[in-house]
């Protein structure tokens, strides 16, 4: 079997991802439409939360991607630091804006949800707070990529930032827990407690989560391709200027 590292070759990656991407994108689109339409039109209201429960189909999947996007960047950074495959560094770079957007979506939907449920847009609840901190990490990571001109230098710096940042993100999570007891409990939603209550909510939620994962993958592939091409173009232009 061919080694998985072959796909770390930029050309090979471009070829493979070109083949996969249309399918992935179509799948993501279908899943997204099915999940959201199902959730929005064909689920009943919760007896306590009324129609706001429909927000869950955006809120939870985006929160999921926001966290796991960072995790993916961490893994990609490690691969870059250890094996120095350019594609993985560029994939991390490509994922950052997606993760940041997902964080914003989770924050926004959460805030909008919080207004009717908790009577406030924002509370300094541990989970919310650590999400805000995660957003700051995304911002810093993106800003550092943008500020450094040389590509390899930027890749090295951001990778190390990602490592250190991950450690501190976990630290903050625990610190915040110590600091304030929260409002945000999954249990506030009826389905969350008694597992069998609500396949009505649960199934469309699953579809939405799958859709967001697919969308994330498709976007990462697409943006990684773009980054690869941008990188190659910079290299070609530089070479052209030299002669």
């Amino acid at each position: 079997m061919a080694s998985i590292w072959e796909y770390a070759n930029p050309r090979k990656f471009l070829e493979t991802s070109d083949r996969v991407l249309p399918w992935l994108a179509a799948l993501a689109g279908v899943a997204l439409v099915v999940g959201l339409v199902w959730g929005f039109f064909f689920t009943p209201d919760d007896y306590r939360q009324g129609s706001t429960v429909k927000i869950i189909y955006l809120h939870v999947p985006s929160a999921l991607i926001a966290i796991n996007g960072w995790l993916m960047m961490l893994v990609a950074s490690l691969i870059w630091l250890i094996r120095r495959h350019h594609v993985s560094a560029l994939a991390a770079r490509a994922a950052a804006p997606i993760g940041a957007t997902m964080t914003v979506i989770a924050l926004l939907t959460g805030a909008i949800w919080g207004q009717p449920m908790w009577g406030t847009w924002w509370a300094w609840d541990p989970r919310l707070t650590s999400f805000l901190i995660l957003f700051l990490f995304y911002l810093g990571y993106i800003a550092l990529w943008a500020a450094v001109e040389d590509d390899d230098t930027a890749a090295d710096l951001t990778s190390i930032l990602c490592l250190v940042g991950s450690v501190f993100a976990v630290l903050s999570r625990y610190a915040v827990n110590f600091w304030n007891q929260g409002l945000h409990q999954g249990a506030s939603l009826s389905m969350d407690k008694a597992d069998n209550v609500a396949n009505v909510f649960y199934l469309p939620l699953l579809v939405c989560m799958a859709a967001f994962v697919l969308l994330f993958l498709a976007l990462v592939l697409l943006r990684t391709q773009t980054e690869i091409r941008a990188r190659r173009m910079r290299a070609l232009l530089a070479r052209e200027r030299m002669s």
């Binding site: 901190i133 700051l136 990490f137 911002l139 810093g140 800003a143 550092l144 500020a147 450094v148 230098t153 090295d156 710096l157 190390i160 930032l161 490592l163 250190v164 940042g165 501190f168 993100a169 630290l171 903050s172 625990y174 610190a175 915040v176 110590f178 600091w179």
Partner: protein, 218 residues
Amino acid sequence: MIALLMRDLRLAVRAGGGFGLGLAFFLIVVALVPFSVGPETALLARIAPGVLWLGALLACLLSLDRILALDWEDGSLDLLATAPIPLEGIVSVKALAHWITTALPLVIAAPVLGVLLSLPAQGYLWLIVSLLVGTPALSVIGTFGAALTVGIKRGGLLLSLLVLPLYVPVLIFGAEVARRGAEGQAVQVHLLLLGAITCGAMALLPFASAAVLRVNLR
């Protein structure tokens, strides 16, 4: 190493006061708080420990770019990197110099400023202790940030952006210790955690800083 420390301290004194300026900034930020939130004593007393911690943190932050950028600009950093000292040692010494010149004066000044904000009497001890335990972490983390942004012209703001989220745990525990101290609650657990963060940061971050610096120098 000692030569480097002595040089950095001397430069801080000569350069129109590394000592004085962090302190002055701290003083002014704290002094501006009553102007911005209004002068009621009860309110001020309530937010005093937090404001003092935040002020100290910002004063530290502002002086971070002096840690490495000056040496970068005039080429000293290139020369230090080829000197017979490991880069890890260099960044540690730099962090130490930053702590001595910036954080230590803040710790000493904090009680005085506490008076301005009507900090309750029992709060002073724990304020000082929490600052003493927490500020070394600020210097070490800050040195990491400075190493990350050293090649970037006027990276001061970027530096702040990168470093502040890293400061969050330190700030939470530090301010919590000071606040609990002021309110007469138990502080041991939080103080212990603060100490653990500081020790961890001092033990591990110099390696990250040196690695980042090596990347930036090439």
